[in-house]
Amino acid sequence: MDLLSFYNNSGFAHMEWINLIMIAVGVIFIYLAVTKDYEPLLLIPIGFGIIVGNIPPIEGMPLSVYAKGSVFSYLYLGVMKGIYPPLIFLGIGAMTDFSTMLSNPKLILLGAAAQIGVFLTFLGSLFLGFTPQQAGAIGIIGGADGPTAIFLSSMLAPELLGPIAIAAYSYMALVPVIQPPIMYLFTTKKERRIHMKPPRQVSKKEKIIFPIVAFLICALIAPGSMTLLGMLFFGNLLKESMVTERLANTARNSLIDIVTILLGFSVGASTQAQTFLTSQSILIFALGAASFVVATMGGVLFAKLMNLFLKDKINPLLGAAGVSAVPDSARVVHAVGLKEDPSNFLLMHAMAPNVAGVIGSAIAAGVLWSALGNF
């Protein structure tokens, strides 16, 4: 009980430089969120979680997310068991307006095309020696959808959940940096200037029927997507039915906020440098970046392919919104379009491939899960 034993029980005794690196990463996340407004709702909880997770815990004391019986381990259960992501999807469903998608169904296919990033990254990860389960979980980073990535990792490769989640959210935050160069590279100035027709009005009836039918289609084709899409479309039905406004309101406010806080913090706190900073993690970050690039390419090029057959040309920038990363990639599309032609307003149109991309990657996750899961 002397000074030495106190020192040995303090964080100073066990702090390693790799923990300091991770703490610096956490601080950078918070800095980016505060000063650059990059996805602050995700980066601040994750960033602070990283800082907390890299304080060296006292040997045997129930402190870290990995310590049996610790409070953080209970909060982390919602990540490990895959409970938080569907609840977030419930809230997102209660926020999402599928109107533009309903008014221009052609744009939905762009959300399918962008999923090429998922499968190419899957193949790349296999090539580099990851197991099929790990490769599937890494591939889904290309879906650009945080909750989907966390859900699939927790089911297929929980040992990689930390790096996959951090990679997914980092790149989602960096969408305004990653996507524009690729969009410029694969489109001509003339293409970027294509104006879209204003969408038609969508009736209440169409909006109410949509979540039910869309759920049935997706769940029958890929039952593995039932958990995420069931909650997404359930939330949307709560919103569109007009008679459950108070439930939709709670789902898209208190509920999603509580889950976002717990999810972000505990994912961040799971990144102890000792298990996080491995060569695997670096590979995952490289694969994740590649996957975002490929997905963006996939969307843009598929739009150009569709234009070969369509009379009313699609602005191929919209393809980039197919990666999802809702709603940031839609905003990036809008911003690039505006740069080229200050009268070209793509934001609302970009929401169609954007939300279709969410559905698309949930289907992809369902397919990967059902084929690769260890049941």
Binding site: V118, F122, P132, A135, I359
Partner: protein, 124 residues
């Protein structure tokens, strides 16, 4: 992971032909979203057919009269409640419309109770 295991042979392990699987996966993603797109494109047509028939204006008159009567009753109820129940004394609570803080909301409910008989209020 030791990086000693890089190679194309990884794409064909433990009974999984990864390339074929990936193509199949992309096909399923496209299938799902394509069917949704087709459904969306066809729905307005279907709805038009569906609502084509029941557009019979015949019942509207009697319905309207019945409805009007109910509105008058609802207003009467509302006024009664307003006069006889001092503020904050009664909130019927929960379900459908949250707290009923004003008697006007109660009247709204009364009205909607009646309108349950109306067949074609799907479009409201």
């Amino acid at each position: 992971m030791t990086f000693t295991n890089i190679g194309l042979h990884n794409l064909n392990q433990s009974g999984l032909d990864a390339l074929q699987f990936s193509l199949m996966g992309m096909a399923l993603v496209f299938a799902g979203l394509l069917i949704i797109a087709i459904y969306i494109a066809l729905l307005p047509l279907l709805l038009k057919i569906g609502t084509g028939k029941p557009k019979q204006a015949e019942t509207s008159d009697s319905t309207n009269r019945e409805e009007e009567e109910e509105i008058l009753l609802a207003i009467a109820t509302a006024l009664h409640l307003h006069n006889n129940f001092p503020d904050g004394d009664e909130r019927i609570t929960w379900k459908s419309h949250g707290d009923m803080e004003s008697p006007w909301l109660v009247s709204g409910r009364m009205h909607s109770l009646n309108s349950r008989k109306l067949a074609n209020n799907w479009n409201r």
